[in-house]
């Protein structure tokens, strides 16, 4: 386990370094090195500090946050197909981001809070359906998909009626870091750090919760409070990411499922590994999307799905027994 953590840390640092340094037609690797050394022109400095670094940070933190959010929601609902994207939590956050853009066009902070409200609303609705009605795991997923569809149509409605609310509608829907706003990043990253820290500290409770409600209760865990806390953390993490990068979905499904296969069975290790590999993975996707068709750019969500979806299918086929779906 320790080796895996070290490897993923090295991987993350390597990809981050590559992502910061990778040059393109506008600014080459040499220019960036010169800026880091303290030189460079003003425009080169601006590119590095106002565009490149916020983008790299945003991609890394979004990847970590969405992966851990997925890991938590999967454990809490005891459902390996769940993820913030599939259950509509992302879309709920996205809808509220749009609403806030409609009402308070220039307030990045409000955007984050609104995203959290939307994510929280959907998360609790879904978990209420899952826990209280006793519906099957598949039905939970289906109702998540339905709620997700409601949010999507509301999003489409807003974009159609008021196209000026969002600068790049395609990028918002698929998710990407091209239009990352440094102010939003500064607001969202502390929230993500808090969410990651709390989920790591609460990991032993998650292990207990995984044993089932009654056993967990017998071990002295306050099951309901614990579940609500985890749902809130998960919503917070998803919301903070969505407010930065739009509706990136897949990472919250694929990373936790891959991590569960390679990690040991403790949630603390799983959360750490999720955060590290999720950050590295999304950062890699963003770097590729930025470089592959320069001077144009693909939305990061597109690359993510192109790489992620086949990989997930492959894993499902290969390891179907160990995922324990239904």
């Amino acid at each position: 386990m320790r080796r895996k953590l070290v490897i993923s840390i090295i991987l993350l640092i390597a990809i981050a370094a590559f992502s910061v340094l990778a040059g393109n037609g506008a600014i080459g690797t040499k220019d960036i090195l010169r800026v880091i050394a303290g030189g460079g022109s003003l425009s080169q400095q601006t590119i590095l500090f106002r565009v490149r670094l916020p983008r790299v940070a945003a991609a890394a933190f979004c990847g970590a946050a969405l992966s851990v959010a997925g890991f938590i929601i999967q454990s809490t609902l005891d459902n390996r197909i769940a993820s913030p994207g599939i259950l509509g939590i992302n879309n709920g956050a996205g809808l509220f981001v749009l609403i806030s853009a409609l009402i308070f066009p220039f307030q990045s902070g409000v955007k984050c809070i609104m995203a959290f409200a939307g994510a929280l609303a959907v998360a609790f609705l879904v978990s209420f359906l899952a826990v209280r009605t006793g519906m099957s795991k598949t039905s939970v997923i289906l109702s998540g998909v339905a709620i997700s569809a409601i949010c999507t149509s509301a999003i489409e409605l807003i974009i159609s009626l008021r196209p000026e609310t969002i600068a790049d509608r395609a990028a918002f829907r698929i998710g990407g870091f091209a239009a990352v706003n440094p102010v939003t990043v500064l607001f969202a990253i502390p929230l993500i750090i808090i969410g990651l820290a709390v989920s790591f500290l609460m990991a032993p409770s998650m292990d207990i919760l995984n044993l089932g409600d009654e056993v967990a209760h017998g071990l002295g865990l306050n099951v309901r409070a614990c579940r609500n806390l985890f749902i809130m953390i998960s919503a917070l993490l998803a919301a903070a990411s969505i407010s930065m990068c739009g509706l990136i979905g897949f990472v919250g499904l694929i990373v936790p499922n891959c991590v569960r296969i390679i990690s040991d069975k403790k949630s603390s290790g799983g959360i750490l590994l999720c955060a590290l590999t999720g950050a590295a993975f999304l950062l890699l996707c963003d770097t590729i999307s930025r470089l592959i068709v320069f001077p144009y750019e693909l939305p990061c969500g597109l690359i993510l799905s192109i790489i992620g979806a086949p990989y997930l299918v492959w894993i499902l086929v290969k390891k179907k027994k160990r995922l324990g779906i239904d």
């Binding site: 009654e214 056993v215 002295g220």
Partner: protein, 247 residues
Amino acid sequence: MTTSYSYGKDFFVKEALFTRGRITGVIGPNGSGKTTLLKTIAGMMPYRGSIMIDDRECRSYGGMERAKKVSYLPQTVKAVSLDVETLVWHGRFPWHGNYRKLTEDDARIIDESLQTATVQDLRKRDLTELSGGELRRAYVAMMFAQNADMMLLDEPTTYMDIKSQSMLYEILRQYAGSGHGVIMTCHGIDQAFSYCDDIVVMNERTLVKCISPGRLKEDEASLRSIFGVSVKRSDDAGLVYPYQLVK
């Protein structure tokens, strides 16, 4: 531990006393409230009246505090992907909470629990690979590590073959012998009489009476009226269950 409570609209109040060092079997027809009785004592159900655990009202305990007094094993347990040793380690949760470091004491308790529950050879095995009986014993080992004064088990022998059943009863006897109380619901009346020190009879969501197998004669009529059958002690030394069902 004494109890006298009612739950919801269905009123069932009685006094019962559960003592350390003894195994109490709860018997009754389906739907008679056996599981509800256990869950209420384990603090999972609201109740009126009073359940005293060490002279303190059950509902006044916090989760972790209560888990040091009472442990509870539901009728069905999950075979999560986890090795047996880690599961038993989870039994130490009430003593440490979220800030857990394995102390020497914990390691010793875990070892002993694995031994007592006879799962020491399975300690590295994954729960998903175990048989029903082994899985149940692994969870019982977890409860040993929890080391609560009272252990509540809901039909621990369901889905177990006869060998695993008697193995489990022996393990529980050993645990009771070390000064802990065991309360369990039993499906079979003959088993309950054969293995338990005290019997609590429930019917129609009411605790009918507490009897001891030794004084069976006095209670035979009520057993017959509830179950349609009774039990009789046989002195044949070769019997697995000394108490046999009789018409």
